[in-house]
Subunit: 243 residues, 2 copies
DNA sequence: TAGTGGTCTAGACCACCCG
DNA sequence: GGGTGGTCTAGACCACTAG
């Protein structure tokens, strides 16, 4: 049973405000109710309201002006594609207005190269599970991703793993691990034959390459990945706010 | 006069903790003092300590475990190159361990194209100031940047403007404007002749292109820019933490 | 002057982890 | 059980912006 009732007040308020922003109940550029008004409307303290508004402001959803009020950002749409989600391709695709889907292209079990072993804090030659996957936005392929996990984390054989799962779900279900950290490096590369054919682009075309490493709460490396990103089909943008 | 004394407690504490993390006073992976200990050490309330720790956790500098303690992230170094600063190249270069410098290559006053006008909410043909600048990391050129501002924002002629200034400083000094928002789009491109020659790379080499738009608190577009980024010389990375 | 957000406190209670 | 972080309150005072 999921105790919905016990979700923290702050999170419940955040959900409600995000929904109101998404649906235009608070229109872009308009002024939102004051902290005191919101506190009264929901019967909670001003401090709790403030923690939520601070979070929304940090994400660029709202803009706060001292002595004046809280305003809905004119960039709500961009802010929904927030960069914190850069590794979470489903969210990225969804917030660009498309329906995401994942298709497993191939998987194999193979020994780690020296570079891979170093990134995963393993000995070279340790067995890895490799997944090649293609992300679709409304049936158009937009991201080619390769993920590598230490085979030792899995209790099931490779064939039993549902390769179309989100990496977070996959690690949770088969490895009983939660992602606590992700480190993403961004590079520009030219499409090789594999990426070009899957993304339907010419060989040599510039692509974004995202190198991601996932860690548990105990800094245990859980997986690494390299993903090729067609930035003409999908926008990668960051909204940053100050004050 | 700058009233250092009146800086908020939370900010002063954050400065101190960041310094301790940077200098290894709290070693990577080790446990930090508890909230109560910090509150006592600095003679402030636990709530204030918490706001600071929450901020550091969101930036990936520390990791908090319920019922267990606050730990220094093993990724402090990467986290210092945090992506929130993606538009602030000086910070980016500095946090990669280099000394930043800016050199003005060229500047001109010219009418806006249709695309530029739209991005700046102006009529096509309105006069813009254009700055071409090169960012150095320890005397090695790493970023070629082009910035465009509406000329109407300036009270001085183009020649009087110090083109080696940080965009934030430039807008502050000559336009009396503060940057409140930045929206950054990331693309992969191939180096054209200009970028290649200034960055010392072959033509056609993949580069990162950052398209940035700066806005004031009132959503007034202040400047746009396109910057070419050599990702083999400078690392562009994002650390993301959950919980 | 009135209303807003910004800062800070003191204290309560809860949920979690460990020895 | 004792310590830790997580949540939340009530209320104080300050700093800023507007009409």
């Amino acid at each position: 049973m999921t105790p919905l009732q016990t979700k923290p007040l702050a999170e419940r308020l955040e959900d409600i405000l995000r929904q109101r922003l998404r649906e235009g109940f608070y229109a872009p550029g308009s002024r939102m109710p004051s902290e005191s008004d919101l506190a009264e409307e929901f019967g909670i303290s001003r401090a709790t309201v403030r923690t939520v508004l601070a979070k929304l402001a940090a994400r660029g959803l709202v803009l706060r002006r001292h002595g004046e009020g809280t305003y809905v950002s004119a960039h709500v749409q961009e802010a929904l594609t927030h960069f914190g989600n850069v590794w979470d391709f489903n969210v990225l695709i969804e917030s660009s207005g498309f329906t995401p889907a994942i298709r497993l292209l191939a998987r194999e079990s193979r020994p780690a190269t020296e570079t891979e072993a170093r990134a995963l804090a393993l000995e070279p030659g340790t067995t890895l599970f490799s997944f090649w996957r293609l992300f679709y936005a409304d049936d158009r392929p937009v991201i080619l991703a390769n993920n590598l996990c230490p085979a030792a984390l899995f209790r099931q054989p490779l064939e039993a793993v549902d390769g179309a799962l989100h990496i977070r779900e996959l690690l949770r279900r088969y490895c009983q691990r939660e992602i606590a950290f992700a480190v993403t490096d961004i590079h520009a590369v030219q499409a090789d034959a594999l990426a070009a054919s899957h993304l339907g682009k010419p060989v040599g075309m510039p692509l974004l390459a995202l190198d991601i490493a996932f860690y548990s709460q105990h800094n245990e490396p859980l997986a690494i990945g390299r993903s090729y990103f067609d930035d003409t089909s999908l926008r990668l943008s960051l909204v940053q706010a100050w004050r």
